[in-house]
Symmetry: C2
């Protein structure tokens, strides 16, 4: 019995886009899917019921943050992350790798793992493949991610090659540390930077381990969009069709379309909630900066085509007022809308694939909004 | 047809406590009642549906704040405060008087009104009885409060006497400016500081105007609790039994009991939401400071005897974690609990009055918690 299975429902005849379904211990996820991020065991400014109500079927939470605060032992004692945070649908946890590598001078990479200092109090810690799996096991997520290195962009070939090979060795150690295969799945992560042959090498090495799913890491890290699309297009061809594919950290509307077109099933990004806290909304008429004076007496909803809680009940003038007054309800309502926008966009994308009009829907979207 | 009526349901045989019902254009309010405060057209960190769900039947909003931001003309254009903020139950607005008097050096009192500078941008404004009613009319609240001066404590007799007499003159101007008596009620405010004879004078002057309700202002402004109780006890005797009585700015549990015992029907206070944002909770086992290390592994609910959303779904350990991480959900959940605590306390008080055991209930509460 494996914790996570993937069912391929339909493939777009004119692209690699595919309609599928991931079954996980805490529920079923229709794919392609966007996963809201709940870094510190909370999707910021949202009650979990609200995240559910807008249609999210899975969220992502961050191992690095939960390891430091409150500590994975506390989450385990609480009965796991689902119970701790009152979310009963699937959870995917990252490995903490991306965060510790982002610490720059505060971390040191060895074959054993990454030694780092906490961004909160400077205390010294070690994250390794075994430690990451230990933490994720304590959290009890449906999907655990392998501990990998996400190479920076640009990076030279020899660095990327060494890095991806270490990532493979780390993946083997993650797999060895992964015990409860019935209740938690482990996804491997392909690296290889922008080098297609290295991507192929990485894919072959990780696919050999026969895991329940695979992620594409190290993309959307600052490279031009064309390059991202080209590399991604190639990446997917090296991954098996019967397993879910997850493009990490991607979440702008145009990148979601590009990812889906190239056969990606899962996405995540902090963007919708982060920009919400800065007064920015994604709408069917493009970006709205709610701070702008033009909305002072605009009593229409944020998005005329949206039926989310925010758009059903509040005006742009009210949202602007809340933002100007620094009221929490501003972040609450804009986060709700932005998450709804992306979750709903994915719903429309799934429908378009089902009806053999994904490319038309994509074109329609680009014609209207460009890169958003 | 008058906008607000009061029905006396039952009087406690051993105290002045009374069980009543206020009928307002947007709904019925069972009294004694605690009114959550929504200063800037939002009860901080709460969706209006959540405020309703916890049982609040009326909220208070602040004229001073809404006059400055977004401006009462904008709220009027939005269709009034109810529609602007998505709250369809009764709203009481204060007059802005208390806030402008609190501005200290930034304001100047004349017979005409109060000239002041905005705490936001230093711009110059004038608030007068006519202006306050104009703003409150634009807001469309069910209950408007008269523009008064809340004298400081301590204050000498001659200052307080001059001040209360000006407050009466201002009340007459408020009444003259109050046009839509069918959809908005005007409450007068008794002043007089800690001087019983001045309180009597003020009461007689305002009651003569035959308004739909009366408030007691200028109490709980720093004086000892015993003195507050003594003055309050006397105040209520000068107010008519067939009109609601509102003790302004009072909201700690022990003060609510003291107010109810002396015949007060309505209360408001920012305390429950303000302390929530600082990690403090009011519980049936006393105050809880969620920051404390003792709650790190406390997986029990905030309040064992509470059935609010927060207590049904989250542990103290989780709430502490959210607070430590500065997550908005911390304020959202603690505000919800604290408001529920006070709204529910008033519900229990109403039941105790109905069952002729108010004094016993009060004693029980004090024996258990002291002054909280």
């Amino acid at each position: 019995m494996t914790a996570v299975t993937y069912e391929l429902i339909k493939t777009d005849p004119r692209s690699k886009a595919r309609r599928g379904r991931v079954t996980a211990p805490h529920g079923t996820i229709e794919t392609p899917v966007f996963m809201p991020v709940g870094t510190a065991a909370t999707v910021k400014a949202m009650r979990p019921e609200e995240v559910k109500e807008l249609g999210a079927e899975i969220i992502l939470s961050n191992t690095y943050h939960l390891y430091l605060r409150p500590g994975h032992d506390i989450v385990r004692e609480a009965g796991g992350l689902h119970k701790f945070m009152n979310w009963d649908r699937p959870i995917l946890t990252d490995s903490g790798g991306f965060q510790v590598f982002s610490l720059g001078d505060l971390r040191k990479i060895t074959e054993e793992g990454v030694e780092f200092r906490s961004h909160i109090d400077g205390s010294k810690h070690m994250l390794s493949p075994e430690k990451s799996i230990e933490v994720q096991t304590a959290l009890g997520s449906d999907i655990m991610m392998a501990f990998d290195e996400c190479a920076p962009y640009p990076a030279d070939r020899s660095y990327v090659k060494d890095s991806l090979e270490r990532t493979t060795r780390w993946l083997k150690r993650c797999k060895a540390a992964w015990k409860d295969t019935e209740h938690q799945a482990l996804f491997g992560i392909m690296q290889g930077g922008m080098y297609k042959d290295l991507r192929k090498q990485s894919a072959e090495e990780i696919v050999e381990l026969d895991l329940p799913g695979y992620a594409i890491g190290g993309l959307s890290v600052g490279e031009p969009k064309d390059l991202m699309c080209e590399v991604l297009d190639d990446c997917v061809d090296h991954l098996p069709a019967d397993k879910p594919r997850y493009l990490m950290g991607v979440g702008t509307p145009d990148y979601l379309f590009e990812g889906v077109e190239r056969g990606v099933d899962m996405f995540d990004c902090v963007l919708p909630t982060r920009i919400a806290r800065h007064g920015m909304a994604m709408t069917s008429a493009g970006k709205v900066n709610i701070k702008n004076a033009q909305y002072e007496r605009d009593f229409s909803p944020l998005d005329h085509q949206c039926d989310c809680y925010t758009c059903r009940n509040y005006s742009r003038a009210y949202l602007r007022h809340l933002f100007k007054c620094n009221e929490m309800l501003s972040s609450m309502l804009l986060s709700n809308h932005n998450l709804h926008f992306l979750v709903n966009l994915m719903k429309n994308i799934r429908k378009a694939i089902e009806e053999d009009r994904f490319l038309e829907y994509k074109k329609e979207f680009y014609d209207k909004y460009g890169t958003f």
